[in-house]
């Protein structure tokens, strides 16, 4: 699955990466945090997850062809 990062998270993690074998959003986040360092740090603050361009919770199921995005709480308008 494709993982996208935006705003502050993009500056720390880069624009995107490919990952596989993540059954749900919580597993994905745990996997990223386990990388330690900047990953653990950046994901300790508030962030949001979107699955296929819709906001989702940590319990969201993930499929291999999903587009998953992690980003800070939005601040437009």
């Amino acid at each position: 699955m494709k993982i996208l990062y935006f705003a502050r998270l993009r500056e720390v993690f880069g624009e995107s990466e490919q990952l596989s074998g993540m059954p749900d959003a919580a597993s994905l986040v745990a996997h990223l945090r386990a990388r330690g360092g900047k990953w653990e740090e950046a994901l300790s603050g508030p962030f949001r997850i979107a699955v296929n361009q819709e906001l989702a919770g940590m319990d969201a199921r993930l499929a291999e062809d999903d587009e998953v995005a992690l980003f800070p709480p939005v601040t437009g308008g």
């Binding site: 993009r10 980003f71 709480p73």
Partner: protein
């Protein structure tokens, strides 16, 4: 119903005139313009990032919800991205209805939901450097208020 995300500036008068042409029978058009605020002369500008694809989808869903809840004849959300200067226009929301209450509440609902559900991020450029704008709890509360009002009546 229209959603536009663009770098270039907009002219609210032109958009209002176009909506008046499109919508026959409207009694009220409410417009909201959001501007880059510079309270202390500190902000030299701003960069607006977004999530292409999700932005249009999220705004489309918000407009659908608005249409289901109020008597809405037409609506426009136009949001700028990229580099903006102090006092520049950021966002334009238009809502046309037969009734003023529906037009006011539609525009207000769209803005409150845009603030918490549409994937835009602001980075301020100040004399002291750049910083990502923090989300405000008051925006979450404003969005939640509509949910409560719906549940209560």
């Amino acid at each position: 119903m229209e959603v536009r995300v663009q770098e270039q500036d907009f002219d609210a008068g032109v958009e209002i005139a176009a909506m008046r042409q499109r919508v026959k029978g409207a009694g009220a058009i409410v417009s909201f313009i959001g501007l880059v605020r510079d309270q202390a002369g500190e902000i030299g500008g701003m960069v607006l990032e977004h999530y292409p694809g999700m932005t249009e989808k999220a705004l489309g869903i918000i407009l659908e919800e608005t249409k289901n809840r109020w008597e809405l004849l037409d609506a426009l959300v136009l949001h700028r991205v990229g580099r903006l200067d102090a006092q520049d226009q950021i966002v334009l929301v238009l809502a046309a209805s037969s009734h003023r209450k529906d037009a006011f509440e539609s525009a207000s609902f769209i803005m409150d939901n845009l603030k918490t559900r549409a994937p835009f991020w602001k980075k301020e450029i100040t004399r002291h450097g750049e910083r990502w704008v923090e989300a405000k709890e008051s925006d979450e509360l404003a969005t939640n208020r509509w949910r409560r009002e719906k549940e209560n009546g």
